[in-house]
């Protein structure tokens, strides 16, 4: 049986771990609220741009733009959104596993795809698994601004435009609720399924012409899809970290309870032993 002092030490270290995890839980909770707000304030922009794109794309069938067209697939691009730090429960492993499986199912050769990881965990994973990395970005802010992501988003869109890749997928954790996040795959490019169901589409005049507008709008639309996924992913990250930290705190509490019990038991045993020694010593004197 462990000595009294050993148990005491373990109790102390567990309770300081508990302090850290419960602080991290609170921090993540507030970050999650902010991330949720960010994702919400992005919605009007996304809806509007989607509406305009949909009304142009569906209004006329003679619109022709490379980004709207599916072409034979020679190479596929994957953008995967992960976090920079761990301690977020299954957040990173879920998304990386689903991406890795998708890649394994679809491609035989390494020349058929490239990965664009966002976040350190994803970058390290790709290096370890020896996946071809086109470009990566680490150290994104917890409340990312559009400007931070613009460069990598336009880089990815560019890859498609220059026919380096023929389709572009996005892997991220979709924020369902604070306790549930779902690994999701969406196709960014080509923009084949722009849904505008239930929305009233207006017919516009185009200045100067449709082609010109599509040229500016479509890349912006694709970039904003990436940004939207990042905001969604960040909200999931904080939610996931919050849940992970909460269960860590709960576990620590349970452990402390158990240890306290065995500490008390050990103390009691020590006292009992001392008493019986004294009694034994006294009766030996008689």
């Amino acid at each position: 049986m462990a000595s009294l002092r050993d148990i005491k030490n373990r109790i102390n270290s567990t309770s300081s771990t508990k302090k850290i995890t419960s602080a991290m839980e609170l921090v993540s909770a507030s970050k999650m609220t902010k991330a949720e707000q960010n994702a919400k304030s992005f919605v009007p922009y996304m809806e509007k741009i989607q509406e305009v794109v949909a009304s142009i794309a569906s209004g006329n069938t003679d619109v022709d733009h490379p980004m709207l067209q599916s072409r034979p697939i020679k190479k596929t691009g994957y953008i995967v959104i992960t976090s920079d730090r761990g301690l977020a429960g299954p957040y990173n492993s879920n998304i990386l596993r689903s991406m890795y499986q998708a890649i394994q199912n679809r491609h035989q050769s390494k020349d058929d795809y490239v990965v664009i990881p966002l976040g350190k965990v994803g970058t390290d994973f790709c290096k370890r698994m020896d996946l071809p990395i086109a470009k990566s970005i680490v150290g994104l802010d917890d409340q990312p601004e559009f400007a931070e992501i613009k460069e990598i988003a336009s880089y990815a869109v560019n890859l498609f435009e220059e026919e380096e890749v023929d389709e572009l997928y996005l892997h991220y954790n979709h924020y369902v609720s604070a306790i549930s996040q779902k690994a999701t795959e969406t196709k960014v490019l080509p923009l084949t399924d722009i849904n505008a169901e239930g929305k009233q589409l207006s017919t516009y005049e185009y200045e100067p012409d449709q082609e010109e507008i599509l040229n500016t709008i479509l890349p912006q639309y694709a970039e904003s899809l990436v940004y939207g996924a990042l905001l969604d992913g960040k909200a999931s990250e904080h939610a996931s970290r919050m849940t992970a930290m909460r269960s860590a705190t709960d576990n620590a509490e349970e452990l402390i309870d158990e240890l306290t019990l065995s500490y008390n038991r050990a103390r009691q045993a020590a006292i009992t032993q001392e008493i019986s020694e004294i009694v034994g010593g006294a009766s030996a004197l008689e």
């Binding site: 960010n38 304030s41 922009y45 559009f146 200045e207 100067p208 010109e212 709008i217």
Partner: protein, 133 residues
């Protein structure tokens, strides 16, 4: 007096919502003035200032990478970045301007960074202009 509902939205959230009498902005194909009752229109905007007129006041907004969507009673400006004059950090814009200028001076014209620096310069100048109004 008829009015227009104007909203300016960016990926980072709405920048402005208000009612104005006239909107003028610079589209890629030239200057656009929009009054209430305009036909539905979509046009890409240059890096420029959007002017919003109400009675005797004119509000300015610096936009970059955006386009304007017009409906008879509503104007929506979607931009990758948009700022009200009060939100512009003039010092930062000034620094950005100098940095871009240096980069332009030190590079050849066919360089991709040259283009980027030119755009950065335009954005910085636009911000400074708007902030000084």
């Amino acid at each position: 007096m008829k009015t227009l509902d104007v909203s300016v939205v960016t990926p980072d959230g709405p920048v402005l919502d208000g009612t104005y009498e006239m909107v003028s902005c610079r589209a890629e194909s030239g200057e656009l003035g929009i009054l209430p009752g305009h036909i539905p229109l979509v046009a890409p905007l240059t890096i420029s200032a959007v002017r919003l007129k109400k009675e005797n006041n004119t509000d300015f907004i610096a936009v970059s990478g955006g386009f304007v969507e017009v409906r008879p009673d509503k104007v929506t400006i979607l931009a990758q970045a948009a700022e009200q004059p009060s939100d512009i950090d003039v010092d930062r814009a000034q620094q950005a301007k100098e940095r871009a200028q240096q980069r332009i001076d030190s590079r050849r014209e066919d360089d991709i960074d040259f283009k980027r620096a030119q755009l950065a310069l335009q954005r910085a100048i636009n911000r400074i202009d708007v902030a000084n109004h």
